[in-house]
């Protein structure tokens, strides 16, 4: 794997040289910045402890007030699609350079810069909420940077027992008495793609059309992506009433740490993978 990476690196360097040798000054590639805003509907989320006055409160369709103290999710497998349908994958098989943990508590993580995106007009973006199955094995040897970043005390996105990454980690409180809400998602698949022997796949592929064409050239566009966490309890797929531990149905604490009730929440925020491929995500704007 290391050798493969060196190989890719050499190839990249080579390509770099080749582009240097070109005469014209026109850009051949430029950055695209993804800016994530995490909201409850139109309000940007402010995190807070159980009794924090400034934490953003949301009320679910079933009338349950809730707010978050922690909000993290993994974005990977990013692809930009040109008007003619050409798909430009962005380090989709390299978690070190193509995946990131969005952490609401850390503003820096809300922007993710895609570098060296080829010149062109882009009309669509695809990305994964979570890590696709073939890369989801906590392989520190292959992707030490992403592994360390995801596993740091600040992020805590290792799902050790499943030997995979946490795809989402949400901690918070619900109802007027501030009961604990805790939702972790991740995949428990075993076996090879197309031949899974057990488990559930919490990875969700998101497809979003851009309302304005993103033109990469001399300009380096910024795509503003909204993640509306109102969907967690009040999504397209499930309307959830949170309950306490005696009843495992719709339970966000504790059994949503496991695969038991996890998939309802996963489908609400990440879509069902067939008819709903946007989940909680939408594009707010594209700035060229």
């Amino acid at each position: 794997m290391k050798n493969l990476k060196n190989y890719i690196l050499s190839a990249a360097v080579l390509v770099g040289f080749m582009s240097c040798s070109s005469d014209d000054n026109d850009a051949v590639a430029n950055n695209v910045t993804l800016e994530f805003t995490n909201t409850f509907n139109n309000t940007t989320i402010v995190l807070g402890d159980a009794t924090a006055a400034d934490a953003t409160e949301n009320t679910s369709e079933m009338g349950q007030v809730h707010h978050f103290s922690e909000l993290k999710y993994v974005v990977s497998n990013i692809r930009l699609i040109k008007a003619d349908g050409t798909e430009i994958p962005y380090n989709v098989n390299d978690l070190d350079n193509g995946a990131t943990v969005i952490n609401q508590a850390n503003t820096e993580t809300l922007s993710y810069v895609l570098s060296d995106i080829p010149v062109g007009d882009y009309t669509e973006i695809k990305f994964g909420l979570g890590v696709k199955s073939d890369l989801n094995d906590l392989d520190q040897v292959s992707f030490p940077e992403f592994y360390d970043n995801a596993g740091s005390n600040e992020t805590q996105m290792h799902w050790e027992w499943g030997t995979g990454y946490r795809f989402t980690k949400i901690e918070g409180f619900y109802d007027t008495d501030n009961k604990e809400l805790s939702f972790h998602s991740g995949s428990t698949l075993e076996g090879e793609e197309g031949n899974y022997t057990q488990g559930v796949d919490a990875y969700r592929d998101i497809t979003l059309s851009l309302p304005t064409t993103a033109t990469v050239g001399n300009s380096a566009p910024t795509i503003a992506i909204n993640a509306n966490f109102d969907y967690l309890l009040s999504g397209e797929n499930y309307t959830i009433t949170l309950v306490t531990t005696e009843d495992i149905t719709n339970n966000a604490t504790p059994s949503a740490h496991t695969a038991t009730e996890m998939m309802k929440f996963v489908e609400n925020i990440g879509g069902n993978g067939t008819t709903d491929t946007t989940g909680m995500f939408s594009i707010t704007s594209v700035e060229n």
Partner: protein, 341 residues
């Protein structure tokens, strides 16, 4: 160091290419001959792609007992998987570095080559996938594979063992996982009194043991079947529930409420050595387990049909319990746990 090795490797590669008659270094690393009982279930297919070898097993055993696998160099695999306890321990739940307490009871490591599913919830189907979990889990060793490699990569004895075990390959993550699995594959328990009686090696059951065997066949064997004394299925048998918020039993893997608080049927081999019992050590003794089953278990929607059809209990007389325990102790393999040496 790694770069140096890589460079060396490339140089070697190049130089071997330029040779006409490339001299292949051959490592003499014979397969270990294992006693595979004919009446045991089939071997896990992973066994055939990671067949235990002399040096692989030696390396695996060394790693299994090396405290450097843990972040603070205080515990090894063998801290919780102790030979005299049939490679389990006597704690209700696993205890990791700094006294951190895990989710579940440490399972015995025995007859792993014949298992198709591992751990209480069957989250792993290949033994080679397992060693990383305790290495990285916060409540266990709380380390990482690169940290482990960093600690051992300059250790001459490891360098030598890895070379011999894996045809000159250096110290790799896969080498660590595979060699530990190879060692574990060799931990086969098949010399209990039960086995010797069955093989007509001159031993006979006492009257109580024979009675217990009869009760076992009547009331236990539908789950504790095969020569491993587990059918390797997952069942909710209404045992007291682990209050840890991470616990869901098999449902943790499948997401199915039908599997909620279901656990893999444990083997009864060497059960005498592995107290306490249950997924989080709910029961201190075998007697406590039998009393609980006799008195009645917790109701659940997905309670095993065998219990549901019998008023949520397995009725047992006091004598039957005594005899069952006598029988279960015939599954003790004193040689396996090192008491015969």
């Amino acid at each position: 160091m790694k770069n140096l090795l890589r460079t060396l490797f490339i140089v070697l590669l190049l130089s071997s290419c330029s040779n006409d008659d490339s001299e292949l270094v051959s490592y003499n690393n014979p397969e270990v001959s294992l006693n595979i009982p004919s009446d045991f279930p089939e071997l896990n297919s992973s066994f055939y792609t990671n067949i235990p070898t002399e040096f692989g097993v030696e390396l695996g055993k060394k790693l299994f007992t090396d405290v450097r696998l843990s972040a603070d160099n205080t515990i090894s695999c063998s801290s919780c998987h102790i030979q005299e306890n049939a490679f389990a321990d006597h704690n209700p739940k696993g205890i990791g570095i700094e006294g951190r307490i895990g989710l579940r009871n440490a399972p015995p490591v025995q007859n792993m080559a014949f298992m198709q599913v591992y751990n209480w919830d069957g989250n792993k189907l290949q033994l080679e996938d397992q060693p990383l979990v305790p290495i990285i889990t916060h409540e266990e060793m709380d380390s990482s594979i690169l940290e482990v490699i960093g600690k051992i990569e300059n250790d001459e004895s490891y360098i030598e063992l890895f070379k011999n075990a894996f045809n000159g390959e250096g110290i790799t993550a896969d080498g660590i996982y595979n060699s530990i699995a190879q060692y574990e594959y060799t931990l086969i328990s098949t010399n209990s009194k039960y086995d010797k009686v069955k093989r007509n090696e001159g031993e006979t059951f006492t009257e109580s043991e024979a009675q217990g065997f009869a009760v076992f066949q009547e009331k236990c064997i539908s789950c504790h079947s095969t020569e491993l004394f587990t059918d390797q299925t997952y069942r909710n048998i209404g045992f007291p529930i682990n209050p840890d918020t991470e616990e869901a039993g098999r449902a943790r893997i499948t997401g199915s409420t039908e599997d909620y608080m279901s656990f893999r049927v444990p083997s009864l081999r060497n059960i005498e050595y592995t107290a306490p019992y249950g997924s989080f050590g709910q029961f201190a003794t075998l007697e406590a387990v039998l009393n609980y089953l006799d008195n009645g278990v917790l109701e659940a929607d997905n309670l095993d049909p065998i219990l549901k059809d019998n008023d949520n209990r397995i009725p047992l007389t006091a004598q039957e319990k005594i005899d069952l325990i006598a029988f279960m102790k015939t599954l003790s393999d004193s040689e396996f746990v090192g008491l015969d040496d």
